[in-house]
């Protein structure tokens, strides 16, 4: 795509001088840790340059960005070595010169109204009142958010919230724009919105840009330099995007980066089909059960052993609601959802009426956010919850737990608290806990959400294995690649939507 090179919009902004970044032997060690997060970093970024920062998980990318923004904290939060300077001075003294956008759309919204949230940064910098509202208007235009100033921030979609955060940073007129995985938690539409907004902004203002992201192909048109951090310290590679991607391809693929042109191998599957498990006819789904209004309706589907059903559709079309209904967690609004006698195994035809323990051995649900599912304080106990609820003997429980720890490579984490795991490990753990009770059907809500390429590959391989074992998989996803790699059947909900589901639009 063709993007404006510089100042093409006619200078709505006074052209901000981009900031210069200098790092000399810089390192940071978080308090309470033995190994530093970043060490021996030497880096120079010229004003106006646009850098894509890559590296394996743990290489310190987020720490570097936090350091550049000056938000790492003081003496009591860690130890620093070397220098990290923006325009020759410490970042913490230059609030407003540096804008930071983080990964989670929900955790960056400060105030309840759109205009107020964008104005927040300016207020902190002591900008006079009239000037504040002028800047707010410009910032919202620049990111393409065409909303009234009194619009409620909690009702925005993920892509809109990220653009709101970008507008809030913009209103401060920063010379350095830092983006830490800004599109990781967004659907494909949101990803493009945010990328385009950033491209426009950088072209208009000439600010220096540093982006951390695994989705390289999304950002390639915007950046002119790629820097790869080494997990052991220092810089692994640094140069023009094409050169670095070619030279470091294997290492990057290993690190979980989505290198363009390196398509993940499709897993080998035996594609045998087993028995029918669940059928839905004319199913209407919604949040309040039989008394509620339907979010999507007239759905017909079948769930069969050994086959994967992918449910796709735009934001708000009711995908998650359908997943929860099929999993027996939400009551259908209308229509039929029936389990075959062999699947129900004496529990009755309606999954919503099954007791939790009956549900456990028949359906396993993996939620979009693994943290919603964690119940205990260690990984081992977490895996034992399911078998223990079924009344298995301690020996049986231990054997199942050990088997899963081994299969999903979580053994070295057996005693760790689930919340302290990395994103990919949490996802593996939530799948493992579901497998502990050996359900015949698995329902997954956005399993590849926010995951890097490596976890993605592992997940696809694992699901392929499970399908070959004769389980059924229902996956709600907006990841087209995931659907095309794994799915045997695809159900597109956009045609079935009745009204927009606000709970879904927010993601």
């Amino acid at each position: 795509m063709v993007l404006p090179v510089s100042g093409a919009s006619g200078g709505r902004w006074a052209s901000e001088d981009g900031a210069r970044v200098t790092a000399r032997g810089w390192g940071w060690r978080h308090a309470g840790r033995r190994r530093p997060a970043v060490s021996q970093l030497d880096l120079d970024v010229a004003p106006g340059e646009r850098v894509l920062l890559l590296g394996a998980s743990g290489a310190g990318k987020s720490t570097l960005l936090a350091g550049l923004a000056g938000v790492l904290g003081g003496d009591d939060e860690g130890d620093e070595a070397g220098d990290l300077l923006v325009d020759g001075r410490a970042p913490a003294e230059q609030r407003g010169r540096i804008g930071l956008v983080l990964q989670d759309p929900d955790s960056q919204v400060v105030l309840a109204r759109v205009g107020d949230d964008v104005a927040f940064g300016c207020e902190n910098l002591g900008v006079p009142r009239d000037e504040i509202w002028r800047r707010v208007g410009h910032a919202l235009d620049a990111v393409g958010l065409d909303l009234p100033l009194s619009a409620s921030t909690s009702e925005l979609s993920g892509g809109q919230k990220q653009r709101l955060a970008l507008a809030g940073a913009l209103a401060m007129r920063p010379g350095l724009l830092l983006l830490d995985e800004p599109t990781a938690n967004l659907d494909p539409g949101g990803v493009v919105e945010v990328r385009d907004a950033v491209a426009r902004v950088v072209a208009d203002t000439g600010a220096t840009l540093v982006v951390v992201e695994h989705r390289v192909s999304v950002w390639l048109p915007v950046v002119d330099r790629v820097v790869v951090l080494d997990a052991g310290g220092g810089v692994l590679a640094d140069g023009r995007p094409d050169d670095v991607l070619r030279a470091e391809r294997d290492r990057l693929v290993d690190a979980g980066v989505w290198v363009p042109g390196a398509a993940p191998p499709a897993p080998v599957r035996s594609r045998t089909t087993g028995e029918l498990l669940l059928t839905a006819g004319g199913l209407d789904v919604g949040h309040k059960g039989p008394k509620g209004r339907a979010v999507a309706g007239g759905i017909d589907l079948t769930v069969t052993e050994g086959r994967a059903l992918a449910v796709t559709g735009t934001n708000g079309s009711g995908k998650s609601t359908l997943a929860l209904t099929v999993a027996g967690l939400l009551a259908p609004v209308a229509g039929a959802l029936e389990a075959t006698p062999s699947f129900a195994d004496g529990a009755g035809p309606s999954p919503i009426r099954w007791k939790p323990r009956q549900l456990l051995t028949r359906v396993g649900t993996v939620f979009q956010d693994p943290e919603h599912q964690f119940l205990t304080a260690t990984v081992r106990r977490e895996l034992a919850v399911g078998p223990e609820a079924l009344g298995a003997s301690p020996r049986e429980v231990a054997s199942r737990v050990d088997h899963l720890l081994d299969r999903l490579r979580l053994d070295h984490l057996a005693g760790a608290n689930p919340f302290t795991l990395s994103g990919g490990e949490k996802r593996r753990l939530s799948v493992a806990t579901v497998l502990a009770s050996r359900p015949s059907m698995l329902v997954l809500d956005e399993p590849t959400f926010g995951q890097d390429a490596r976890t993605w590959r592992e997940l696809v391989a694992l699901l392929a294995e499970l399908l070959d074992e004769g389980r059924a998989v229902v996956a709600v996803t907006h990841d087209a690649e995931f659907a095309s790699t794994l799915a045997d059947d695809v159900l597109d909900l956009s045609a079935h939507a009745r009204r927009t589901d606000p709970a879904e639009v927010r993601r």
Binding site: G25, G27, R29, H30, A31, G32, R33, R34, R35, P36, S39, Q40, G73, G74, D75, D76, E77, D79, E80, A81, G82, D230, G232, G233, G234, V235, L236, A237, D238, G239, R240, D243, V244, A247, A377, N417, P418, F419, T420
Partner: protein, 220 residues
């Protein structure tokens, strides 16, 4: 294009931990950071919702207990844990009062039967816990201190209620029962529960930016 060679990288790795000079680890500053304020507010708001729910549940339980004259003091701890929990998580002067006041304001905004008096009570309750933490110079965070903080908060609210609130209309015997049960409730519901909650929170890594979330000696 500069790519670090294998030799460079290994030297870099070896040197990585020597460039850091850990500064003398003095006590953290007394000044509240932004994260202190926000987390204290989060705890306060969450507690405020619980206070409101507790207040709703209080009424039917109270009507049962009202046949016992003064024993409803045993429920008071449910309104005291915000201050204690906030105090031991944030570990800065004023944390207990701030968190308790935020919780009171939130429960008031949602709507309780006691209306505006909840704010005044919140200040006093928070002060009860705060005084104990201050007496120990904000340096002792052992379970004994925490239980004591809960007990004193319970005492404070017990005395306030028997002087100004509906319980002021009780006879002397009922008043005493009220204050005593309030102290017990404070110790258990506010002191013990808060200590357990803070410990659980620290284990999840959610408090990594706080002194309460980092064990003093071990480096992970």
């Amino acid at each position: 294009m500069s790519t670090s060679t294998p030799e460079n990288r290994s030297t870099a790795a070896r040197d990585s931990s020597t460039g850091f000079t850990p500064k003398a680890r003095t006590t953290p500053t007394r000044r509240w950071r932004v994260v202190d304020i926000v987390i204290a507010s989060v705890i306060g708001v969450a507690a405020g919702v619980v206070f409101w729910a507790w207040g709703l549940a209080y009424t039917p339980i109270d009507s049962v207990l009202s046949f016992s004259g003064g024993f409803e003091g045993i429920l008071n701890g449910g309104w005291l844990f915000a201050g204690v929990l906030g105090g031991i998580v944030i570990r800065k002067p004023g944390a207990a009062v701030y968190t308790e006041v935020v919780a009171a304001v939130v429960s008031m905004l949602i709507g309780t039967q006691w209306g505006f008096s909840v704010l005044i009570w919140g200040i006093v309750q928070g002060l009860g816990a705060e005084i104990v933490l201050a007496v120990f110079l904000y340096k002792s965070w052992r379970i004994g201190t925490v239980l004591l903080a809960g007990a004193v908060a319970g005492l404070a609210v017990g005395l306030m209620d028997t002087s100004f609130a509906s319980a002021a209309a009780y006879a002397a015997g009922s008043k005493t029962i009220y204050v005593v049960t309030s102290v017990v409730s404070g110790t258990v519901l506010a002191g013990l529960l808060s200590w357990l909650a803070a410990r659980g929170l620290a284990r999840t890594g959610a408090l990594s930016r706080f002194a309460s979330g980092r064990s003093a000696d071990a480096r992970v």
